[in-house]
């Protein structure tokens, strides 16, 4: 039967009004539209129950067996119904089933409950093609179907289905045998390609070699297995050896060449990332667990530990933006829940990169989603995923660059908290020992997400499997999280990890390393629907699942608590010390893999990297506009700078009651913050600061400068918020174009060199700032093939920094507070404009933007002196506001600080530290030592660039814009002695932003036009 629910009055249905607005551009004007929620079921339900469950009698009409279908009402021209394809997670239907059970109905596994969304469109004269085109953004053919019925077709008896097709699978439960020994190289490669194993020839050969060893044959015979590999085993090896799980590129042996010679790098991870933390570790006793667990753990205070992790979910988001983003969030939340004995997720972060939403449709290559739809879908996923989980979004960013046309970047991060000790033991350690039960908790297993781990290691093309798309259910996960934290505190389990990429094969394969073996009964795993083959059960990435190790004496109590909390938990095997992963199905062994081979049998990759310095950009020209007010407004309106408040206000950042510094700040809560400050404990003033650094535009020039800038931006924002400079930890997330050279990837060696240089910059900056890397992730295939070409992302490094502030009452914000306060710029300005936002507002050159010469570079070993002095001044309450200078430079920071306070500013730009004094020809920097280098920078600055533009819009790292009370002037200046700091103006009551240079007015913007420009809609 069909149950249809619709609002009695259209004007009460916000969804319908919103949908009508989305249709308007396609139809010429907004249509009249009703949106109907549809439940389809083969159960027969009494009408009283239908009304109680599925309608709000105050405002809704309900049609079911007892009342006429909404289609029967006249007045519509087209019906459009969108339903899920079989097997796609339908979270609404799961809740409907649960509600029916609560109401006392017996809802067996065979009974069908589905949901759909029906649109009644009133807009005469539309063809099927026109309706179909207008509704295209409403559904995703990978996971949904759409039916269109015109009024005429309805009159002729056309109807919508009473039920949609359900999954019907008949996969063999018998494992298929794969005789690798009989295969030549070509056959091995074909097998890898056809099964989406994503393994190279040498990796396939290593697998082959394992099976021909006599010892392997012996153990297989003893277990009743044939000598040939089973599909279950091959799939498990491929998942375990995937780039996603084993980070093969970061662990490769790399021959690197650049203009100064050649060198061999024995693992980027060991050389640049781990070595950095190893070096810093002696001075950081607060680091509790780095690189070994699902997230990095550090001590927050004497009683609590905080852990942090960031992930990417780029490939799934490119296919299904909504589901991909939700899954990204709930996935990284599970990393926190799976850290140590399990931490409680405390905050989320989201950094999202897309092609500009204004990209004309005809410039979007065939087969790719339009950037504005990607943005809308991913954003909606983050809204639902984060909000429903009850985890505040603390900080994030939106970036726009043409290179993200092929794959968007969706960085999802989470921080968590747990007591330092649980029942007397360190919370960051887990116990997984032979004899303990293997328990799977959470959602059931379906076909969704099969091959996700290997899929993310492949470039997108037309054959990308839709089964790689999963839709997360934040509510199932929230309930599981509550249950697990309760079970943790009761001591009902001993170890925990999350099921992410690779499903059980990865999580249990990892856990088995601790105990020395595992036996998994694949038949015991709860399934969404019957008919999955054993290998599918093992590698499925169905969401909301965690794996536990449980001492047998606690198993009963654990399962009982799960039942009471409405959470599924099942014992599916036992940890052993056999040295093997043993997979059982149908009463026999279907897979047997040596753990040592599984985890250490993967051959090292050997790669070549060749750096070619970028040829000097064509000489830059920029007309001296005299007055740069219009330029400021254009820079403020550029999508990377313009306000994202309308998007960010849809994220819950207040839940848990721990928010101090919020994404938007100031008198009207509409000026951007430098990051978040949270107060995680109700009983303490100690705060957490969360910041980001990311600047992919610099990668066009040099990824070394890009990485320096990313670390600098994130660390500097910590200082601006008031964080303790010695308390911060960092996460590195690399998203790269494929850096493995191949015939179809001729630039591979250069992209790998870019990676090497980025790692060099990352290490250098982290060491200078005393910033240990505690966790990280890399995503190495951010390419798409579309329209006959490869579209690769700009090499992108996101640095997330989490630090502490001893007293969050001292945390600063970016807004000016009072007229008369003095304005200082801290840090040096080179005036270089390459890779700036200003560049993006001038037509011509790369991707349609001009080039304005070389870009500035961070010098962390110098910046740190300023940062430490500033942190001390902030802690001494010598400052009124502090804003880091980033996109758009001084002019944008000034505009934002003024907007926040609804105040104006008067500035003189003649003596910015670092910029040479044109009259004297020497630097006016506060520190004499800077003169020589600043002059060098000046020499590099093309003379064609007007000085005012350089002062206002250069994006040199290492700088702040701060305001100080006049009575604090002396003590503030004392704290900045011998550092690059200059008094450049004062805050004014009158809301105008004025700046002069050489006695001439170069900027004169009223706050109202600044606000208008800053709030230019980005899509």
């Amino acid at each position: 039967m069909r149950i249809e629910t619709c609002f009695l009055r259209r004007e009460l249905d916000g969804r319908a009004l919103g949908a009508a607005k989305r249709l308007a551009p396609f139809l010429g004007s907004a249509p009249l539209l009703d949106v109907v929620d549809v439940i389809l079921t083969d159960l027969s339900l009494p009408s009283s129950l239908v009304e109680e469950l599925f309608a709000d009698p105050v405002v809704q009409y309900i049609a079911s067996a007892a009342a006429p279908s909404l289609g029967a009402f006249a007045g519509w021209d087209w019906l459009v119904e969108i339903a899920y394809r079989p097997g796609v997670t339908d979270t609404l239907a799961l809740t409907a089933r649960e509600a029916l059970s609560i109401a006392g109905l017996s809802v067996s596994g065979d009974s069908v409950v589905q949901t759909a969304r029906l649109h009644l469109l009133r807009f005469p004269g539309l063809s099927r093609e026109a309706v179909s085109r207008a509704f295209a953004p409403f559904w995703n053919p990978l996971i949904q179907t759409a039916s269109f019925i015109s009024a005429a077709e309805w009159a002729e008896g056309g109807r919508l289905p009473d039920l949609y097709p359900v999954v019907s699978l008949h996969e063999s439960r018998e494992p298929r045998l794969i005789d690798l020994a009989a295969m030549d190289d070509a056959a091995l490669l074909r097998l890898s390609a056809e099964r989406l194993l994503a393994l190279s020839l040498s990796e396939m050969q290593a697998v082959c070699d394992y099976y021909v060893v006599a010892a392997t044959a012996e153990t297989r015979t003893a277990a009743g297995l044939p000598p040939a590999a089973t599909d279950v085993e091959i799939e498990m090896i491929a998942q375990t050896w995937s780039e996603h799980c084993k980070h093969k590129i970061f662990n490769a042996r790399i021959e690197y060449r650049d203009e100064s010679g050649a060198q061999t790098i024995d693992s980027l991870f060991t050389t640049y990332i781990k070595a950095t933390t190893d070096k810093l570790q002696p001075s950081r006793p607060d680091l509790l667990s780095v690189f070994t667990d699902n997230s990095g753990v550090f001590a927050f205070d004497e009683s609590y530990a905080v852990c942090v992790k960031a992930e990417t979910h780029n490939s799934p988001s490119a296919l299904d933006p909504y589901g991909g983003a939700i899954t990204g969030i709930v996935g990284v939340n599970r990393d926190i829940l799976g850290t140590g004995m399990g931490a409680m997720p405390l905050f989320n972060t989201d950094v999202l990169c897309f092609a500009p939403p204004s990209t004309p449709d005809d410039q979007v290559p065939e087969g790719l989603l339009r950037p504005r739809e990607l943005l809308a879908g991913v954003h909606r996923g983050i809204v639902d995923g984060g909000n429903q989980s009850g985890i505040p979004v603390a900080a994030g960013a939106f970036l726009f660059d043409e290179s993200y046309m092929g794959k968007p970047l969706v960085f999802c991060g989470t921080g968590g908290i747990m007591p330092l000790r649980l029942r007397g033991s360190p919370s960051w350690e887990k116990r997984i020992e032979a004899g303990m039960a293997v328990v799977m908790v959470g959602g059931r297993i379906g076909k969704d997400g099969i091959h996700g781990a290997t899929f993310s290691s492949l470039a997108l093309d037309e054959t990308s499997p839709s089964s790689a798309v999963q839709i997360g259910d934040p509510i199932i996960q929230k309930r599981m999280t509550d249950f697990l934290l309760e079970a943790r505190d009761l001591g009902l389990y001993q170890g925990i990890t999350d099921n992410g990429a690779g499903g059980l094969s990865s999580s249990l394969g990892e856990m088995a390393e601790s105990s020395g073996g595992i036996r998994i009964d694949l038949d015991a795993c709860p399934l969404k629907y019957p008919g999955l083959s054993p290998w599918e059960i093992l590698v499925s990435e169905s969401q909301e699942r965690m794996s536990l190790s449980v001492l047998p004496e606690f198993l009963g109590e654990l399962l009982d608590l799960a039942r009471r909390r409405g959470v599924e938990a099942t014992a599916i095997g036992e940890f052993t010390d056999s040295g093997f992963v043993e997979l059982r199905s149908g009463g026999k062994t279907v897979g047997l893999l040596d753990l040592e081979f599984l985890h250490r049998g993967l051959p090292r990759m050997r790669l070549e990297a060749e750096w070619k310095p970028r040829p000097a950009p064509a000489s830059a020209t920029l007309v001296d506009r005299g007055d740069w007010t219009g330029t400021l407004l254009a820079v403020l309106a550029e999508p990377n700078v313009a306000s994202k408040e309308s998007l960010v206000r849809q994220y819950d950042h207040e839940v848990k009651g721990i928010s101090v510094e919020k994404p938007f700040t100031g008198l009207e809560r509409d000026a951007p913050s430098d990051g978040a400050v949270l107060k995680p404990l109700y009983s303490s003033w100690r705060g957490l600061c969360v910041t980001h650094g990311i600047n992919p535009r610099l990668s066009v020039h040099d990824t070394y400068a890009m990485a320096l800038a990313a670390v600098d931006e994130a660390y500097r924002a910590q200082i601006a918020l008031g964080a303790n400079p010695d308390s911060a930890v960092a996460l590195d997330n690399f998203c790269w174009p494929d850096p493995v050279a191949a015939p179809d990837n001729p630039e591979g060696a250069f992209k790998l060199a870019q990676l090497v240089r980025a790692c060099t910059g990352l290490r250098e900056a982290c060491l200078a700032y005393g910033l240990p890397l505690v966790s990280g992730k890399d995503s190495m295939k951010n390419d798409a093939f579309a329209g006959g070409r490869r579209i690769s992302v700009q090499p992108t490094l996101l640095v997330t920094v989490v630090g502490t502030i001893d007293d969050c009452r001292k945390a600063l914000s970016t807004d000016f507070l009072e007229p008369g306060d003095l304005i200082y710029i801290l840090g040096e300005t080179s005036g270089l404009l390459g890779a700036s936002i200003l560049e993006r507002t001038i037509p011509g050159g790369r991707d349609g933007h001009a080039e304005l010469g070389p870009c500035p570079a961070a010098r962390p070993e110098r910046h740190i002196l300023l940062y430490r002095a500033l942190a001390k001044a902030i802690s001494g309450r010598a400052l009124r506001s502090c804003h880091d200078l980033s996109d758009g430079g001084l002019a944008v920071a000034l505009a934002e600080s003024c907007l926040g306070g609804r105040l104006g500013a008067r500035l003189r730009l003649d003596a910015l530290p670092g910029m040479p004094n044109p009259a004297a020809g020497v630097s006016s920097a506060g520190a004499a030592a800077t003169t020589a280098e600043a002059t060098t920078a000046e020499a590099a600055r093309p003379e064609a660039l007007p000085r005012a533009a350089c002062c206002l819009f250069a994006e040199d790292p290492g700088r702040f814009l701060v305001s100080v009370r006049p009575e604090d002037r002396e003590r503030f200046e004392r704290s900045m002695a011998n550092l690059p700091a200059a008094l450049i103006g004062e805050v004014t009551e009158e809301p105008g932003i004025r700046a002069s240079l050489g006695g001439l007015r170069v900027l004169d913007a009223d706050l109202a036009s600044v606000e208008r420009a800053y709030k230019t809609p980005i899509a």
């Binding site: 509600a99 009850g390 259910d473 509550d482």
Partner: protein, 251 residues
């Protein structure tokens, strides 16, 4: 003796920790209680003075916000909950909790043994979830025990379905006449299109109360967006103190 406040949790409610903290600061013995434990033993209610439904996304707001949680409460708690209220117990529902109370028909209530649903909270007029701090006006003439004498101030709101609507105008009129409107969004600050700017209502006894804003997320001055400026009103705890005081009178 401190009055006991039970803060419900589970099924996707998520603002229980801060609500427990708020009740603790307000002087209650605040205890987090899994709804499933309450269903298993509804008599727990007899040992408490205050029952609090927190904010969140019970059952994901699927089938309508608060809808499935209300069904659960009706099936497993119905008589006990009615008895709790009839014998002087206090109930507060915030955001998702407010949605549950309207869907249970406990608000505006007064229907005796067969509560009917006369008001509801539907999707915001904008169609979008909103997180912001907005100006709130507390009604001076109200039956609500929870909001008596409170000063106007900013409070955080964060919801996708907070638009207060009634079955018809007469329901709204009787809410006004009965003093059941406890708080409103200040003029120009209505974030969701609620009828008559209504942000919270109570039942005729004044003991059962629901609101969309989150006073429990305003625990300390530092939560306020204007924390660095002079003009920050009182933190949200006094609302809970009112409830705790009323509960203490009953002890």
């Amino acid at each position: 003796m401190k009055p006991k406040a039970l803060i419900l949790a589970g099924y996707g409610f998520n603002a229980d920790a801060e609500l427990r903290e708020a009740f603790g600061l307000a002087g209650a013995e605040a205890e987090r209680l899994q709804l499933s434990d309450l269903f298993a033993d509804p008599e727990i209610l007899e040992r408490a003075e205050i029952l609090a439904f927190p904010g969140g996304f019970s059952f994901g707001d699927h089938l309508g916000s608060g809808q499935v949680a209300a069904l659960l409460c009706r099936r497993y708690l119905g008589e006990s909950l009615r008895r709790f209220i009839a014998t002087g117990g206090l109930v507060i529902g915030i955001c998702n909790g407010f949605q549950v109370l309207t869907k249970l028909g406990l608000l505006p209530g007064g229907g005796g043994s067969a509560p009917s649903r006369e008001v509801t909270l539907i999707q915001n007029e904008s169609g979008l979830f909103v997180d912001d701090w907005v100006d709130i006006h507390f009604e001076h003439k109200t039956a609500c025990l929870w909001t008596r004498g409170l000063e106007d101030r900013m409070l955080p709101v964060r919801h996708g379905e907070g638009r207060f609507v009634a079955k018809d105008e007469s329901v709204l009129e009787s809410l006004e006449a009965g003093g059941l409107v406890a708080l409103r969004y200040a003029s120009g600050s209505n974030p969701n299109g609620s009828a008559r700017d209504i942000a919270g209502i109570c039942d005729p006894s004044g003991r059962v109360f629901g609101l969309m804003p989150h006073p429990e997320a305003f625990l300390v001055r530092e939560n306020h967006p204007l924390r660095r400026r002079a003009k920050v009103g009182k933190v949200g705890i006094d609302l809970f103190e009112n409830g705790v005081r009323a509960a203490r009178d009953r002890l």
